[in-house]
Amino acid sequence: METLIHVTGAGVVSAVGCGQGETLDALRRGRSGIAPVRYLRTEEKAFPVGEVKFSDAEMAARCGARQGLSRTSLMGILALEEALAQAGLKDLTGVPLIGGTTVGGMDLTERIFPAYSPLHDCGASTDAIAAHFGGSPWATTLSTACSSAANAVIFGANLIRSGQAEIVAVGGSESLSDFHLHGFGSLMILDTAPCRPFDATRAGLNLGEGAAFLILESETSRKRRGVASLAVLSGFGNACDAFHQTASSENGEGAFLAMQKALRMAGLRPEEIDYVNAHGTGTPNNDASESAALRRVFGEQMPPVSSTKAFTGHTTSASGSIEAVFCLLALQEGFIPANLNWATPDPACITPYRGGDASCPTGHLPLKHILCNAFGFGGNDSSLLFSR
């Protein structure tokens, strides 16, 4: 990319913890946040989930948010607070907020339907996050199902490339809801056991929730403000599988094109990629399709690949930015998160990275370039490339 786009702040909340510190510790130790339902108001208890371990009231108290916000907004506020602080920003003055969500305020609406919460729609959810911090000139919301947050990163990056902004706050937030727990249940793609991405016995995904935001900043602005760069967003790709509303194509066309675009934009060869954080939901269809795409991109020189869904569950619209923060931590700390729960090879799938790398006894891997995949219903496939 001709314009350097720096990440100068990051914030994350998911089932494995609140903030980069707790997240890093859990990823390093292989500690999953998936457990039986505890906070979500639902009768459906058969499926384990990756909940953020706070009630709505506890979250609101923690970030000092006003009463009555959706859980999606509350988690977004927690994540953005950390990202802004790291970037040395007090609020969103001059900073457009690009959010990603699909559930929005459904957690509020589903309690009162057929009435609607005024905070129901996706935009209201992002606006509530913007209003908490204040100063944002404008906000908007991507809603491309499970790639929403990744696409928010892409739009924000294009705003900087085109000179429409110097700093943008980008990411996504999604709470669990009874609505989409039953929705994924009706599609028969939830596992009653912890998910096992890329394993031959994988039987579906576990739903999760969370939020993450990144502060993207132009080189000029970063230098002027004198803030550190966590990494560079060196490339990205968005492509459409254009195959089926909820299923991925056998050859992973959309995923393949998204990864290929990201590599081309960064001017990198496939063998220069040190790690791929896969979408890897644990459904039979996604993991086989993504594996086909990975094999088309990398051929015989497959880099370490892992899905972190067994840590957090599938955080749907927020997964793109949550896993982007995981990739930033991996780059900075020199480690690769393990693909938990993998035991049985599947010829249709890549063999994921499981940690305990014998070639790296010190536990510090010199990682330079990481690809991060996020794919969504509708074939909305996106890939982000972060470099040191």
Binding site: T102, F113, A115, T144, S186, A239, G378, G379
Partner: protein, 188 residues
């Protein structure tokens, strides 16, 4: 150097308009499975692309303030036991906001950039800004941009109680870097 962005075609169905003859686009079976929002989305998009003389655009970028609200409500009614009906996976699958953009891409075989914005009062503006930015940057040469919304009695009542006028949208435009034959130049 940023390129200029031109509007090449525009097709809109107003809320009171009669439904177009969909038989040129859908089989009877297809039309039955598709809600009015999706049919209007596919139809206006096809018309706009035809006007612009483009078979497959390089990007599909859609704005929708509330998304596929009818399907969401059908699923919610079954979930809450408000209707004596089972939970239907189709209602959930077609409840996500990106259903329209996805369906358009599937029908066109369009593997290019695909995105959906859902931000009340800013959905369409954001979709235009996204597509126009990519054309200006030289990443793509053309894009289909749309704005699609449907209303239900429940949502209309909720909006009215907030002092907001409920509005449907069915608008498709084609943007391009090519000045030849343009209807207008886009400022963004």
């Amino acid at each position: 150097m940023m390129r200029k962005v031109y509007v090449h075609a525009r097709c809109e169905l107003m809320p009171g308009d009669l439904e177009p003859d969909y038989r040129s686009l859908f089989s009877v079976m297809e039309a039955r499975r598709m809600g009015r929002l999706l049919k209007r989305g596919v139809w206006t998009s096809a018309e706009a692309l035809k006007q612009a003389g483009i078979d497959v655009p390089e990007a599909v970028v859609i704005g929708t303030d509330f998304g596929c609200i009818e399907n969401s409500e059908s699923f919610l009614k079954a979930l809450k036991g408000l209707e004596d009906a089972p939970l239907r996976p189709t209602h959930f699958m077609q409840s996500t906001h990106n259903t329209i953009a996805s369906l358009i891409a599937i029908r066109l075989g369009c593997h290019g950039y695909n995105a959906t914005y859902s931000h009340r009062g800013r959905s369409y503006e954001s979709a235009l800004q996204d597509a126009a930015t990519q054309i200006a940057l030289g990443d793509i040469d053309n894009a289909l941009v749309g704005w699609f919304d449907e209303m239900t009695p429940n949502l209309s009542a909720s909006l009215l109680s907030q002092g907001i006028e409920p509005k449907e949208h069915a608008l498709a435009v084609v943007l391009s870097a090519n000045p030849e034959g343009a209807l207008d130049i886009l400022s963004f």
